[in-house]
Symmetry: C2
Subunit: 240 residues, 2 copies
Amino acid sequence: MEQPGEIKKVSMAVIKRLPKYYKYLGELMRKNVERVSSQELSKILGFTASQIRQDLNNFGEFGQQGYGYNVSQLYTEIAKILGITTNHKMVVIGAGNLGQALANYTGFSIHGFDIIGIFDKNPNLVGRKINDIPIYPVEDMEYFINKNNVDIAVLTVPRDETESIVNRLTNTAIRGIWNFTPVEINIEDRDIVVENVHLIDSLLTLSYRINESWLQERLLKQKRKDKPFGHGKNTTYMVK
Amino acid sequence: MEQPGEIKKVSMAVIKRLPKYYKYLGELMRKNVERVSSQELSKILGFTASQIRQDLNNFGEFGQQGYGYNVSQLYTEIAKILGITTNHKMVVIGAGNLGQALANYTGFSIHGFDIIGIFDKNPNLVGRKINDIPIYPVEDMEYFINKNNVDIAVLTVPRDETESIVNRLTNTAIRGIWNFTPVEINIEDRDIVVENVHLIDSLLTLSYRINESWLQERLLKQKRKDKPFGHGKNTTYMVK
DNA sequence: ATATTTATGTTAAATTAATCACAAACGGGG
DNA sequence: CCCCGTTTGTGATTAATTTAACATAAATAT
């Protein structure tokens, strides 16, 4: 039952679909499509129409019976939901390969995400610019973040340096960490959000799926085989 | 009910957890830990012990009552499941910022993923090397993939070139596409697996979560407000 | 104006995933 | 050798998510 001040929790599954809606609605807008139904969205996005309607209804009633959704209105609403109606300031921490690549990428600013500084401990890099963004010494990180109201820290440091950088970030006004390190970050009871991009996990998942058909055969065979048991002195071989 | 030749389908949720198990077991091995219980794994990984046991039981009985799991044995089993007991050959397609960063990254080879070639349409890049990996003209892509038994194509081309490259890839012996483009790839009825790394989606999800508390307030307010309806001639303003 | 069609918002049902709970099996200690 | 504590594998339960169904409202056609 819903209480007066109750906060309705939106599931992560729904949240992960929002960017897809947003991106596709952007495409439709560029094509000057004025209206769209959940069924039409369904065809392209691969979700059921029912799911799309239910997803959107977590946030409001944006559609209309007999009409569907107004593309640009829904686009704007989702932009609000995603919090991208105002710009976000980001800093990249770690000017290695990936950090530089992200700094060079121009696709973020279209959505209002601006990288305004890069931090590195390497004195040879400090003072240079990447894509017109200056590289600063990592010592100045906290001061810079607070001074410039930076929202998001893009973390591309080596694994061993992650923990110490994260600790330092918890003492800043940063709101979110976009984590490209392989380290699992957990920040206790502070309102900093962490979003992980674990590339290795993604690659291993791909490998699993490539391997899947072979694996299924192996599993079936294994089921018919006896299985050795035991680690210690009482170890026996038994048949299931 | 299970049929003789039935293929047991493992859910994506389980698959996505496998790399976490794998990585943490690797850490334990390096620390020379010999055995581990589902409860101990639970504490670090943040999944319940029960879930861990059930996840692993999708693939076999790797543990033992009263003992737990043998770390190195379980590590090996998960490596088999993930299909990383043999090496994988990869090519990077698109030698832009991201493509170059991935080519420079050394972390893949530890898990048996070797980038053996980079392809680009830019003649100024062709012939150069990145991290000792040669850049070839994109025209040679298909031939190279088939000749060298390349398993995985890492796709880092601009959005407009994605479709044509994917079409060309479907005519090769490639097994998987690791897609870094923002394009949603769908390949019909061929056994090529696509794993997406949609960075923008990830960033937008982060933005949502940063924005979440503000959003909840807005949703509560909105509930108490009347809502204008209508798009056409019968449009009325109504109170819910 | 009216009827017909379309397509939403929403409740209910079905499916899928996570957690609980416990019998059975093994290791370790005396 | 036997008992006690531990911990798995697994069936049962609960929770979460997805899909289906439909009453209702608006648009469109006549």
